[in-house]
């Protein structure tokens, strides 16, 4: 178990967005979190990465993420992407990837100004990492281009690259396939699986595209109205009655 969420609740001014939610993520697994719009999936991720305040515990390799400040989460080994891209839009692709490695940089302000030995070796190490990741994601030719000038699909790759360069143990992807056509989706799926294998990552993915979810997931957790309604392997989830109801509506039109 790499991540163990227990009794997670998030309230927004009286509205209960996530209610007593518990979930375990196995090390090395591809775990998907699905559910209808507004089910609270992104809120769970936002709570884990301390974007929104929450109650409960989320033990990541024995450390409670919910007790850490937001900027320390990456040090624990949890990196994420965002549903609506949160790239640094005035920077180049290289600049964006560089920030991914921010927390690993081991020099101080005076090293920067005086260009000391540790500054130079760290800079070349990060530039090497940036080049390596960009080659792997096939975006090397865009490195010195402004990130906002790139097509949407490429921007998604940059965001994934920025998360991967931080050397995470757990990578959280928030709807990586939204807005992509079939061809782009297929390519992105391959990239994600390749990265997962190469860096031995654990992946937690929020996604709506059922075809992709079913084909990549080891385990699926289904949410509705802020609560977990089902969990299991893809074949178990397909047959689950509650899941079908959540997506297609209850036949009796009454919610229990």
């Amino acid at each position: 178990m790499i991540l163990s969420i227990k009794a997670l609740s998030v309230k927004f001014k009286g509205l209960i967005a996530v209610n007593n939610f518990s979930m375990d993520v196995e090390k090395g697994s591809f775990h998907s979190l699905i559910g209808p719009n507004g089910a609270g999936k992104t809120t769970v991720v936002n709570a884990l990465t301390r974007v929104v305040p929450s109650t409960g515990t989320a033990l990541f390799e024995g450390i409670d993420l919910l007790k850490m400040p937001a900027h320390r989460i990456i040090n624990a080994g949890v990196a994420r992407t965002f549903q609506n891209l949160e790239l640094f839009k005035n920077l180049t692709v290289a600049g964006n990837l560089y920030i991914g490695a921010h927390h690993t940089i081991n020099y101080n302000f005076f090293d920067e100004i005086f260009g000391t030995k540790s500054y130079k070796s760290e800079q070349s190490r990060i530039f090497r990492n940036v080049t390596e990741i960009s080659e792997m994601l096939d975006i090397k030719r865009y490195l010195n281009m402004s990130v906002s000038s790139l097509p949407y699909g490429t921007q998604k790759l940059v965001e994934i690259g920025r998360a991967v360069i931080s050397k995470p143990k757990l990578l959280i992807l928030d709807e990586p396939f939204a807005g992509l056509n079939d061809q782009e989706s297929e390519k992105l799926k391959e990239e994600i699986l390749r990265i997962k294998g190469f860096y031995a990552l654990t992946i937690l993915m929020i996604e709506h595209d059922m075809k992709i979810v079913m084909s990549v997931s080891d385990k699926i957790t289904v949410m509705n109205f802020g609560e977990k309604i089902a969990e299991g392997s893809p074949s178990e989830i397909i047959q689950n009655r509650k899941v079908a109801e959540a997506y297609l509506g209850d036949r009796s039109y009454s919610r229990s």
Binding site: E86, F88, N90, F109, L143
Partner: protein
């Protein structure tokens, strides 16, 4: 070495005007405002924090330096450094609200701070009240008397050059990119380990320190300071210098400062209202050169430079 070449014209600028000390003193003034405007640039363009109270840091620097030199006979160099340090401390205090508010709210908070400082200075005896401080001595540096504006010019240019070196060194490394990440997306910057508290306060500290140092130079170059010189207009001018010249570039800020400080002197001999000229020029520049006058030279800002 190549990235320093653009400095050469600025080194040569005073040579044809050696016989015109008045013109040289305008160049000095442009240089001093450049330093203050770089302080504004670091805060707005780099860190994405808005301030329209930077005139207060300018005033703090000017008054600290003037009081130390006039009342306590402290050597200028020491007064200069203390004024930067003092402005920096105040900058950190002003930066605290930025941790809670942003955008227009931060603009209003900093504006209130700017006005408050101006009023406070007017009240105290040691600052000379609303009459200000007169006869601030011209600084004497180690080997030469700096009363000659040519020396002043090169001292100011050297300071700008040092600032440029530091800024270009950090522009594609940990602290510079962290500031820029914070500007573009606080949520993503934080997710990748950028400590917003640290970098916001650092941005305010650096901005205030640079503006304070400029204030110190200003006080000794002009020789007379009073609260009315450090009003809201000065803060807005500093902001406009950054935008007109070219945000995110030391050279752009220099051009912006020359536009705002030099142009009034250039036109003072004619019977035209400078406000109208400046206003029209401002609108034309913003319409056709949204990235500032620097756009003419097609210079990339520090963050878009090629590194790999």
């Amino acid at each position: 070495m190549k990235k320093y070449l653009w400095f050469i014209p600025f080194v040569l600028v005073p040579l044809p005007f050696l016989g015109y000390p008045f013109l040289l003193s305008i160049f000095v003034l442009i240089g001093i405002y450049t330093i203050a405007a770089i302080g504004m640039d670091v805060l707005t363009t780099w860190a994405g924090q808005i301030s329209i109270g930077n005139a207060a840091f300018f005033a703090v620097g000017a008054y600290t330096s003037a009081i130390l030199v006039v009342n306590f006979h402290v050597p200028f160099l020491i007064a200069f450094l203390i004024s930067g340090l003092f402005a920096m401390i105040i900058g950190i205090v002003v930066g605290l609200p930025a941790l809670r508010v942003s955008g227009f709210y931060l603009a209003v908070v900093t504006m209130a701070f700017g006005i408050a400082v101006q009023q406070i200075i007017g009240v105290f005896q040691i600052t000379g009240g609303y009459n200000g401080i007169r006869n601030i001595p011209v600084p004497s540096f180690w080997i030469f008397k700096a009363s000659n504006p040519v020396y002043q010019y090169y001292v100011v240019l050297t300071i700008i050059f040092l600032i440029f070196i530091v800024l270009s060194r950090i522009s594609f490394s940990k602290s510079g990119l962290a500031l820029f990440a914070m500007r573009d997306s606080e949520i993503a910057a934080r997710a990748f380990g950028v400590n917003l508290l640290k970098y916001k306060l650092a941005a305010f500290a650096a901005s205030a320190a640079l503006t304070g140092l400029a204030g110190s130079l200003y006080a000794s170059a002009i020789g007379f300071i009073s609260p009315s010189q450090f009003d809201l207009t000065l803060s807005l001018d500093l902001l406009a210098m950054v935008i007109v010249g070219g945000a995110g570039s030391v050279m752009g800020v220099m051009i912006g400062a020359a536009f705002f400080v030099g142009l009034p002197f250039l036109l003072s001999g004619y019977n035209i209202s400078i406000t109208i000229i400046q206003g029209v020029a401002l609108i034309v520049i913003l319409l056709f050169l949204p990235k500032g006058l620097l756009q003419i030279f097609k210079i990339r800002d520090l963050f878009k430079k090629k590194v790999i």
